[in-house]
Structure formats: structure tokens, C-alpha cells
């Protein structure tokens, strides 16, 4: 895409793109290339020299039961976060689209978690569920439920899922609401005159027209669950207990920064890059198709 009328300039356009290109080259392409490079190298025990080992790091990563376990945790975590962030958001958006009174109050209040950092969201939920401290944890104990996410891996996973989904709910709500408000009211009124009830209208008109938004949010939420939730995991569980909440991005951090395994961590980074590129490609394919119809 290009404008018909443009300015003349030989040097000026290069000067204008230079700052962004410089930052992109130094902090995107160089590190990405390094990740690919280090993923094919093995460091000696002292980190002094490296040798080329081909795909050995990748083979080691995929042969590592810890990595496969982390994949499994990530799959459960991201599907649960996505569903838990999307379904209530859709319900609330449909309701907010219907009401007239207090509409802006609801909207403003539901927007708030968007401003909360994932790590802080984790701290908020930790404060509710910390055994012996949080009021929800105490209530659970009073009900006779043995709640201790510091020891129980499933409970820990549940807690980080809820905290991560809570933060992302706002984002989904805002997009669903915008999508709903873009649906022509005349369409719904026509269906109403034809005798279609509320649920039928929702299923046959609203949901299909909302599907681009839904798909977009699905990809965004999966990417969010894969990467941005690092703060939740790090602040609440630190990947534990016994790796029950170690999602892939946490493992990249843990192996690379704490474990100092540069080759393995880089190989994991490269795997993650491929996943993001695939997700983005799928999304763009879909968005493009949408533009044509």
C-alpha cells in the first residue's frame, strides 16, 4: 500500500525510519539470531567455549520429560485461561449491551483489571487464597476443604489460572462489547418480528457475526497465556509445587537465567518463536479472509 501523492526526499526518509530500525535490529534481530545460534551450540562447563552440536539441544529438549510435562501444563493452563477469560466476558458483554441504565458504570468497572499487571493480579489472588491468611482460604478450611496450593499442584494450577483469567477478562469484555455494538440493530429487530426468541437470535445472528472477534480474542488470549502470564506464575507459585505450574515461558527463564543452560534455554526459545509465528500466521490468514467478504 502506498499513497499516490508523496514527498520527495533522498536522505530524509532514511533518517525518519533510522531510530526504529536501529532498535529493531539491535534488540530484535540480533537476539533472535543469537537464540537460533546458541540453540545449535553447547557450552563447556565453565562457559568459556562452545561447540556446534547441530540439533542436539533440540533433541535433548524434546527428550526431557520435564519439557514434555511443561508442554502439558502449558496446554491445560492456556486452554483453561482462554475459556475462563472469554466465556464470562461474553456473558457480561451481552448483558452490558442490553442495559441502558448504569451501562457506563458497568463498563468502567469491568475495565479495571486491564490496568492491573499480571504479577499484581497474582498477588491479589494469593492474598485471598494463601493458606492460613487469605479469607477465601480460611472459608474453605471452615467448609472442611483441605486447601493448600503450596503443597497441592492441582490447586496451585487452579489458582494461577483464575488469577490470569481474571486479568484478561476486561480485555475480552471490551472487544466483545465493541463487537456486539457493531451488529446492526435492524437485523435483530427483523428477526424479532419473524418470531425469533432471544436465544435463537443470539445463536443464529449474534454469534456468527461475532465470530471474527471471538477468533481474534482466542489467539490473543492464547498468546497472553503463553507469555504474559509469566508474572502470575513467578509471583504466586514460582513454577511449583514440584513443577506443577511450570509453563513453557517459565521454564525458558528458569533454565536460562537460574540454571544457566544457554543452549537448552535457547532451543526452547526457538520452539516458542515457532509457536508464536504459527499463531500469528494463522491469525493473519483469517483476518485477511475476513477483509474480503
Amino acid at each position: 500500500m502506498q499513497r499516490r501523492v508523496v514527498f520527495d526526499g533522498k536522505l530524509l526518509p532514511y533518517l525518519l525510519v533510522a531510530p526504529q530500525l536501529a532498535v529493531t535490529l539491535v534488540f530484535f534481530f540480533w537476539p533472535a539470531a543469537e537464540a537460533v545460534y546458541f540453540s545449535t551450540q553447547r557450552q563447556d562447563a565453565f562457559g568459556l567455549s562452545t561447540v556446534f552440536v547441530g540439533f542436539e539441544n533440540f533433541a535433548a529438549v524434546f527428550a526431557d520429560p520435564g519439557y514434555l510435562h511443561s508442554f502439558q501444563v502449558t496446554a491445560i493452563f492456556s486452554v483453561a485461561v482462554t475459556l475462563l477469560a472469554m466465556l464470562p466476558a461474553l456473558l457480561l458483554a451481552v448483558m452490558a449491551d442490553r442495559v441502558v441504565r448504569f451501562a457506563s458504570v458497568y463498563k468502567t468497572a469491568l475495565m479495571l483489571p486491564y490496568a492491573v499487571a499480571p504479577a499484581i493480579a497474582g498477588v491479589l489472588w494469593l492474598f485471598l487464597f494463601a493458606p492460613g491468611i487469605g479469607i477465601v482460604a480460611n472459608a474453605l478450611k471452615w467448609l472442611g476443604i483441605d486447601w493448600n496450593y503450596l503443597l497441592n499442584g492441582n490447586q496451585a494450577l487452579l489458582l494461577v489460572i483464575v488469577a490470569a483469567a481474571w486479568k484478561q477478562l476486561s480485555y475480552n469484555f471490551l472487544f466483545f462489547l465493541a463487537g456486539l455494538q457493531a451488529i446492526p440493530k435492524s437485523l435483530l429487530e427483523a428477526a424479532s418480528i419473524d418470531g425469533a426468541g432471544g436465544f435463537l437470535r443470539f445463536r443464529t445472528i449474534v454469534l456468527p457475526l461475532l465470530s471474527p472477534t471471538t477468533f481474534f480474542l482466542f489467539v490473543v488470549d492464547v498468546v497472553y497465556a503463553f507469555f504474559e502470564t509469566f508474572g502470575v506464575i513467578h509471583a504466586v507459585t514460582g513454577g511449583g509445587p514440584s513443577k506443577a505450574t511450570e509453563i513453557l515461558i517459565y521454564k525458558v527463564y528458569y533454565d536460562g537465567v537460574v540454571g544457566l543452560d544457554l543452549g537448552g534455554s535457547s532451543a526452547q526459545s526457538v520452539v516458542l518463536m515457532i509457536i508464536v509465528i504459527a499463531l500469528t500466521a494463522v491469525q493473519f490468514r483469517y483476518v485477511e479472509r475476513r477483509v474480503h467478504y
Binding site: R4, H234, G256
Partner: protein, 281 residues
Amino acid sequence: MESRSGHLSWLPHLILVLGLALVGFPIYVTFVGSTMTTPEILSGHMSLIPGGHFVENYLAALTQGMPQLSGVPVARLMLNSLIMALSIALGKMLISFLSAYAIVFFRFPGRMVCFWMIFLTLMLPVEVRIVPTFQVTANLGLIDTYGGLAIPLIASATATLLFRQFFLTIPDELIEAARLDGAGPLRFLWDVLLPLSRTNLAALFVILFVYGWNQYLWPLLVTNTASMTTLVVGIKSMLTVDANTPWHLVMAMAILAMAPPAAVVLLMQRWFVKGLVDAEK
């Protein structure tokens, strides 16, 4: 529809109020915790009515040196967060505005290469290439500096794409008129394009400020001394595993960490919602 016909008109309100309660509950309890003393919180039957230590706790958090943070007070961490968030937001806006301007309003060899190079960065969130990016930053001597906190995060395809989209809608007549009046490209940028982009800039500022303030993994890696870390990262150091966690201060810190981005979102709500939905489509 239901609301017009009258029956069940209370149902959406009920669901929304329940939704609000669920969304607001963790924030409310945290606020309540921030107005109590730690023994009150740990008593096992914490009240849901705010306590009487609001001023005391926030004053202590802001001004007192925290032993868990090597004696640095929270006010310093807030300052670091603010500097980081503002540098990221304004830096991204500046370099994206300029590069989008060059790509849309000029024709020069390598234009598409530049566009694609910027576009590709969409696909590589900082978390993915975290360890090598850290090494590059360390090699440049940027550990424990504001530059190290902000610069690696200011390249963004999203902002560039948003500006590009908007610039493509500027009518050709405007440029022709500007040229007839003898305005050069920089004059046009400053006097015509910048004022026209006000709404986009405001929306982008909200999104990027929140993004910058809420960063976690990057500041965690790139700062080693407590006096250079950010508030969002600093909270984690307060949560010690033993029973010595000063919960009243942690809760005050959590509220302080939420307040600035929430204020920016609420005050600039009108532009933010429009911009968010436009930016991502």
C-alpha cells in the same frame, strides 16, 4: 429487546452486578488489607470493613526503607516504574510515528524491506527472546540503567501499523495543498499530521503506558540493585516464604502499583476504548 418488553429486565443487571462483585472482590479485599495491621490480617477472621491504618500504612510504604528491598522505599520504585512507563510510551510513539511517516509519505529504495522488518517484530514478544536480549543489553552496558529498562521495549510494530493505517486515510489534497503553500515534509508533519493524530496518540499513550508500567520479566532481569527495580517487580521480594511478610505493606504496595495505570485508563477512557479496538484490528 427484553428490557423493552419489560419482563426479565432485571436479569442483565443481576448478572452484571454479580460480575462486578467477582471482578472487584480481590481489589476490594486488598484495599481492606492495606488499611489494617498485619496481626489483624493474620487473625484468621479478617474483617471486610476497612481498618483504621490507611494513612499510617501508605506513609510507611512510601517513605520507609524496606529491609526486603535493601532499604529502598516504595516511592523510589514508583519513580522507576513511572520513568520506565513514560519512556516506553513516549519512545514508542515517537519512533513509530516517524517511521510510519517515512513509509507512508515517501517512496525510497528499501521501503518495503523496512516495513517488513518492523512488521516481523510483531511475532517476537520480548518474553520469547528473553535470554539473548538480556545478553545484548548486558554487552551494551545497560544493566541497572533506565535505558536498559526502556529502550529494548520501545520497538513495536503495533504502534507503527496503527499510524500507518491512519496516515493512509489522509486525503491527497491535503498534501498537495501543503506543497502549494510551500510546506516541506517536516513542516507538514509538524503542522498538519501531528494535530490530526491527536486522538490516536492519546489512545496509544494509554495502551503503552499500561504496557510499560506492568512489565515484569524484563525489569526482573535487567535490574540487579533494589534502587533501580520497579514497583511491580519489587512486590515479589516482599513476599518472603517465612511468616515475616508484612502483609499490610504488601497490600498497600499492590494498591499503589495498580493506581497509576488505572488512573490513566479511567481518565482517558474515551480514547482508550476506541483506540484499543482500532489498534488490534
